[in-house]
Symmetry: C2
Subunit: 391 residues, 2 copies
């Protein structure tokens, strides 16, 4: 759990390193007894006591007796993170909506707000201004200092400085979002690709907690994907994350705004889902979700209406699995509302057709338990990364 | 260049760590002056002298005065790796051929042999026996002890124990190749996927020396790919490497032996290349290569005959680039013999159509300078990894 400190390390550095490891454990996995912390972090109980006492004095954790006593002897105290002690702002910019949340240590969403965007007509400046305006009342209500900001954007993002290179569904190009938000909020800001943050959220708090090799694929308006490989986020050159939705899977398919044709997104994105459901392509999100929920009741009807859609979903996933060999695929956002019969059929098709799935013992395909909050939660985790190390 | 040793490290460990770093530098980048070694490894000159003296005494390196003296003052001695001082056996198992080489420290191929296989009719036991039989005379000729073995296989391989899970073009499944070869050769054996080893070779000694994010794609009979991400090999769950050739890119395409349909391999593998060249699908390799070399002379004719083939090659590469965001794609084996006009056209198409290529500043597409030796060189590097740390 805790990595070995490097040579030349002073006692202060060791203490800080162990403190971060302990705080991260509580942040990610929740309340834990001192005894379990000692065992998990490989530290002795007196070291744990000193660390916990220090964090308690700083108000970051509290301790109480566990409700259930196990066995005889003195019970080990339960250590709980104190959500209000370190709060970050998470912002999830979508094509049709912006959602914001204040998230406390431990992952609890302490306050939230959201507003709609006109599809493809939201200027970056408008969004930045509205985020800043909405932030103040949220933070005042909570009466806590916010220590960092994480932002999720559906596009090609350079994480080092928060440059949004291209967010096609938003019609944004070359937006210095990280710098600009940091200037108006006067806080450190980290920006990430939405699907990468969805993957991070599932890995830390969702369906992929025990999966070191996983892919998160989600449909909002477009389709995006994030990859965790050997426990870490997979990024390309310059820190950019891939665009899974622009895998060309139907050479004679529809032209895509990205300049290519037959992209996966054109077959399994929101518009394609609407076509499959035989409702107008610009149906409001609520109508799409309602239609999907209704279909869930009758697996046969669901497969009859969504059979071809499921075929395209499976085809793209076979490619992803053959390229990356994950043990788990988590379907997010609109995909998470697909009828269970469709998800099961897709999972079966992937295991049947993918050579690599067979090698890794059968890739599982599941829906996201975090649903629509995944990217917001991921944005909070992105903001927490530097915060936890600095405490 | 050299990583910091961990806490609790003893002086012996530090010396061993620095020794490995120095030896690896000489192995990978070749002869180097003591002064340059000191600068690159961040060590002082007296430490370098002690390390080099130790390695020289063990016969692993030699020193000589550089041919050209630069500037005034005493010239820094040039340190050269001694190829015969540490030799590994590299084995490249292909669908139609097995190639073997003894490779010395520094990467020089000191001796080699190869033989043909009947396509899809080579039993693992036959190959293992022939490798063992061919190894002895090779090693005797060289009069050197061989310290390890690396094997390249065109299939889904578990690197931890060298299990070949599925090598469809060889018709092998569940072959304990690592264990079995280790037993007959009485040497440690590492087995890797052929495309992953091609990528490793290009990264260490080929076109991708300076590319931390690259993809190697090669056509032998089938099509395989290996990925270096942030400087390390990308693997999936259980250490398995992806199968890029089984990305489905033509849903209405030919059935593939893997159980899927329209796999990339069915459009850009050797058989597809033969169809594009209008020669029989089972043409001998020499005929395919000769035909390609002839086309190289006339770019217009080349594009006319290979235009559709180039289109499918570009389509698959756009997908790979959109998923992984590499700065460089290296085309290996048969792809390395494609006419320059075709390669240029494909590179242009990738940069034009891939959203992610645009973000990373334009992914370059080049042919492998290592050509047919890439996988053999990669297998040698795989064998050298543990050897260099143990010296």
């Amino acid at each position: 759990m805790t990595s070995t400190p490097t040579a030349g390390t002073r006692p202060d550095d060791v203490r800080r390193h162990n403190r971060t490891a302990l705080l991260r454990r509580l942040h990610v996995a929740g309340p834990c007894t001192r005894a379990a912390l000692a065992a998990e972090l490989g530290l002795n109980r007196s070291t744990i006591k000193a660390l916990v006492d220090g964090l308690a004095a700083a108000g970051l954790v509290a301790e109480r007796l566990p409700v259930q006593r196990s066995g005889a002897g003195r019970p080990s105290l339960l250590v709980l993170p104190q959500p209000h002690a370190a709060v970050v702002l998470a912002v999830d910019i979508r094509v049709e909506q912006v959602a914001m949340g204040l998230v406390g240590i431990g992952g609890e969403i302490l306050g939230r707000c959201s507003w709609s965007l006109r599809r493809g007509a939201s200027h970056p400046t408008e969004v930045i201004t509205r985020v800043a305006d909405s932030f103040r009342p949220l933070a005042e209500e909570l009466a806590t200092d916010v220590v960092g900001v994480g932002v999720s954007v559906p596009g090609v993002v350079r994480q080092s400085d928060g440059l949004v290179h291209e967010a096609p569904n938003l019609h944004w190009t070359g937006v210095r979002l990280g710098e600009r938000l940091s200037a108006v909020l006067d806080l450190p800001v980290k920006v990430g690709n939405d699907a990468e943050l969805g993957a991070l959220a599932e890995h830390v708090r969702g369906a992929a907690r025990d999966a070191a090799d996983m892919v998160y694929v989600s449909a909002d308006v477009g389709v995006g994907g994030g990859v965790i490989s050997s426990g870490s986020a997979l990024r390309g050159a310059g820190g950019y994350v891939g665009e899974i939705g622009h895998m060309a899977i139907r050479p004679d398919g529809r032209p895509c705004y990205c300049g290519s044709r037959g992209c996966w997104e054109t077959e399994v994105g929101e518009a394609a889902l609407c076509r499959a459901l035989a409702i107008p392509e610009d149906s409001p999100r609520g109508a799409v979700v309602a239609e999907l929920r209704e279909l869930a009741a009758d697996p046969e009807v669901a497969m009859r209406r969504l059979g071809e859609f499921a075929e395209w979903l499976a085809l793209g996933l076979v490619n992803v699995v053959n390229l990356l060999g994950p043990e788990l695929v988590v379907l997010g956002d609109l995909f998470a509302v697909l009828p269970a019969a469709v998800v099961d059929w897709v999972g079966h098709a992937v295991r049947e057709r993918s050579l690599v799935s067979r090698a890794v013992g059968g890739t599982r395909v599941v829906t996201s338990p975090l649903g629509r909050d995944a990217k917001l939660i991921g944005a909070a985790e992105l903001a927490f990364e530097p915060v936890l190390s600095a405490i």
